[in-house]
Amino acid sequence: MRTATRVVSTAVRFDQAAVRIAGRTIWSDVDLSVARGEFLAVLGPNGVGKSTLVKAALGLVGLSAGSVTVLGQPAGQSGRQIGYLPQRRSFDPSLRVRGVDIVGLGSDGERWGVPLPFGTRFLPSRRAAAQRVREVIELVGATAFADRPIGQISGGEQQRLLIAQALVKDPKLLVLDEPLDSLDLPSQASVAALVSRICREHQVTVMLVAHDVNPILSYLDRVAYVARGGAVCGTPDEVIRSEVLTELYRTPVEVLRASDGRLVVVGEPEAPARHTDRHSGTPGTPGESAQPW
C-alpha cells in the first residue's frame, strides 16, 4: 500500500477503511489517496464494491473500520464542494423536461419552496444562477441540445448534461460513478476527454468509477484497483501489471498490452453473484419506469 506523500494537498484519503453491508464485508483494509487536481479511476471487476467505495467517500455509506477524509474533513461533511453523478442508465424517452432544467436542479433543486415566477428577470441571485447554468452547459459543450427534452437526446449527450449538473456549484471534487457505462465508443472517448479537460483546466479532483480503463487510460494520474481484501492505488504503470493484480486478487491475472497501447486484463475474478445490485435503483425509479399498465 502506498501512502500519500503530499498530505496537505490530499483531496481524498482512505485509511485502513472497511465497509460491511448486511453482515457481509464488501472490502477491508483499503488505503488510498488522491491529491487535489488529480484524475483517479476506481477500477475492478463487477460487483467488487467500486460504487460502495465512492459512496463511502461521499459519506452515503458508513465505514465499519478505518477512516475516510475528504477535502480535509471527515466524509459526508463537505457536501457542497462535491459534485456527484450516481450510476444510472438513462432518462425515460418520454420524459418531457428540458436538459437545461435538469442542470438547473443542480443549483437549487434541494431548496424548499418553488421559484417565484419571473425571478430570473428581477432577482439578481436567480439571474446569476441561470447564468451559471448556461455557463456550465457551454463548458461541457451541451448548448446545442440543452433545450431539448432530456429523454430524447443520446446517452452521451445526457451524460454531458449530468456532468454539467454536477459542476453547477463549482465543486472541488467530482465523483462520477460509471459515466461511460452504456455509451458507444465515440461517446466514451469524448466524455472521457471532457472530464479530463475539467480536471486540468478547473483544478477539480476527479474520482471516476469504470470497469474498462482504456477510454480514460491516457488521462489518468492514478488508478485504484479494488478487491475484497483491499485496494492498490498508484499510477497506471505501477498498478496495472500482472504481478500487482495477481497478488491483489490472489488468482493469476495477466495484463496484456495491445499494439495500439490498449490494455487487456485477463483472468480478473468475477465477484460472487451480486450483479443484480449494479443497476438497482435505475430502472423503475420515478421518472424512469414505464407506466405500470
Binding site: 461521499l58 452515503l60 457536501g79 456527484y84 453523478l85 450516481p86 450510476q87 444510472r88 432518462f91 425515460d92 420524459l95 418531457r96 423536461v97 428540458r98 432544467d101 435538469i102 436542479l105 443542480g106 437549487d108 433543486g109 434541494e110 431548496r111 424548499w112 419552496g113 418553488v114 421559484p115 415566477p117 433545450d147 431539448r148 427534452p149 432530456i150 449530468l162 449538473q165 454536477a166 438497482s280 435503483g281 435505475t282 430502472p283 423503475g284 425509479t285 420515478p286 421518472g287 424512469e288 419506469s289 414505464a290 407506466q291 405500470p292 399498465w293
Partner: protein, 297 residues
C-alpha cells in the same frame, strides 16, 4: 340528470351574456362552478406531478377507493364528503407504506399491491351499496359524477382542503420535482426522496377525493391526467406546462359544466370528452409539427 326540468327547460341562445346569466341563475349552479374551479386547480397542480412521476395507476386507485369511502359513509350515516377524504387519504398511506427496499425494481411490486387494493376497494363499494339498498340513483352519481346538490358547506370543505394541499405542494414543489426527475442525485444531495413521495401521495389522495365529488370515482382522471398530459405534450418548460395544466383544467370544467347544464347527459361525460379532445388535438398537433420539421430539415 333532471337539470332540464329543474331549470325550467334552459335553452342555448346565440346571446352569450344571456347564456351565462341562465347558467348562474340558480344557486346550485353557482356552487357547481365554485366547486369545479377549486377542484380543477387542485387536480391540475397535483396531476401535473402525478403524470411526471408516472404514478397515474396510484392516482387511479386513490380515486377508485373514494367510491367505497363515499358509499360506506352514506351507509353509516355520515356525509359522503368525509367518506371521500378518509378513504383516499387512508389508501394513500397504504400505498406509500409499500416497502421499496428492493430499490427501483420494486415499482412492479408496488403496482401489484395497488391493483390488489383497488380491486378490494371496489368490491367493498359494491357491498356497501347493496347493504344500503335502493340506492341506485346515487350509485350512478358516485361513479360518474353529478353537479347537482353541491352545498355551500361542501364548497367550503373543498376550498379548505385544496388550499391546504396546494400550500404543502408549494413548500415541497422544487425538491419534489428534483426527486421526480432525478431521484438518485436528489437523494445524494440530501432531498428526503421517500418522505416526499409519501407526502405527495397523501396530497394526491386529497385531490382525487375532491375531483371524485364532481366527476365521480371513475372519471377522476379527466381532471387529474388529461390536462397535465396535454400540457406536457405542448411544452417542455416545467413552469409553462404547470400553468397550462391548470388553465386547461379550468377550461374543461367550465365548459363541461356549462354544456351539461343545457343538456340531459352527465357532467362527467362532458368534462372527460373535452379533456380527451384537448389531448388528442395536442398529440396530433405535436406529431404533425414534428413531421413538418423533419420534412423541412
Amino acid at each position: 340528470m333532471v337539470t332540464g326540468l329543474i331549470a325550467g327547460q334552459p335553452g342555448l341562445t346565440w346571446n352569450i351574456a344571456d347564456d351565462i346569466r341562465q347558467l348562474l341563475l340558480y344557486p346550485f349552479m353557482v356552487n357547481a362552478f365554485r366547486a369545479g374551479t377549486i377542484v380543477a386547480v387542485a387536480a391540475g397542480a397535483l396531476g401535473w406531478y402525478m403524470v411526471l412521476r408516472r404514478q397515474t395507476f396510484a392516482g387511479h386507485t386513490l380515486a377508485i377507493v373514494s367510491f367505497p369511502g363515499a358509499a360506506g359513509a352514506i351507509l353509516i350515516g355520515v356525509s359522503a364528503t368525509v367518506g371521500y377524504f378518509v378513504a383516499a387519504i387512508t389508501a394513500a398511506i397504504v400505498i406509500a407504506a409499500v416497502p421499496r427496499s428492493l430499490g427501483g425494481r420494486a415499482r412492479s411490486g408496488e403496482s401489484a399491491v395497488i391493483g390488489t387494493v383497488q380491486a378490494f376497494a371496489l368490491a367493498c363499494g359494491a357491498l356497501f351499496v347493496s347493504l344500503y339498498g335502493g340506492f341506485l340513483n346515487g350509485l350512478t352519481d358516485l361513479l360518474f359524477g353529478s353537479f347537482l346538490g353541491i352545498s355551500s358547506s361542501q364548497v367550503l370543505t373543498l376550498l379548505v382542503v385544496a388550499a391546504l394541499a396546494l400550500a404543502v405542494l408549494a413548500f415541497i414543489g422544487r425538491p419534489l420535482f428534483f426527486a421526480t426527475v432525478d431521484p438518485d442525485v436528489a437523494a445524494a444531495r440530501g432531498v428526503p426522496v421517500r418522505l416526499l413521495g409519501t407526502i405527495f401521495l397523501i396530497l394526491l389522495g386529497c385531490a382525487a377525493a375532491e375531483v371524485g365529488q364532481i366527476t365521480g370515482a371513475l372519471l377522476v382522471f379527466a381532471l387529474l391526467v388529461m390536462p397535465a398530459a396535454t400540457a406536457q405534450q405542448l411544452t417542455t418548460r416545467p413552469r409553462a406546462s404547470f400553468v397550462l395544466t391548470i388553465a386547461l383544467g379550468l377550461a374543461i370544467v367550465w365548459l363541461g359544466l356549462a354544456v351539461a347544464y343545457f343538456s340531459v347527459y352527465p357532467v362527467g361525460f362532458y368534462i372527460t370528452t373535452f379533456g380527451f379532445g384537448g389531448y388528442v388535438l395536442a398529440t396530433a398537433g405535436r406529431t404533425a409539427a414534428g413531421r413538418l420539421r423533419r420534412a423541412l430539415a
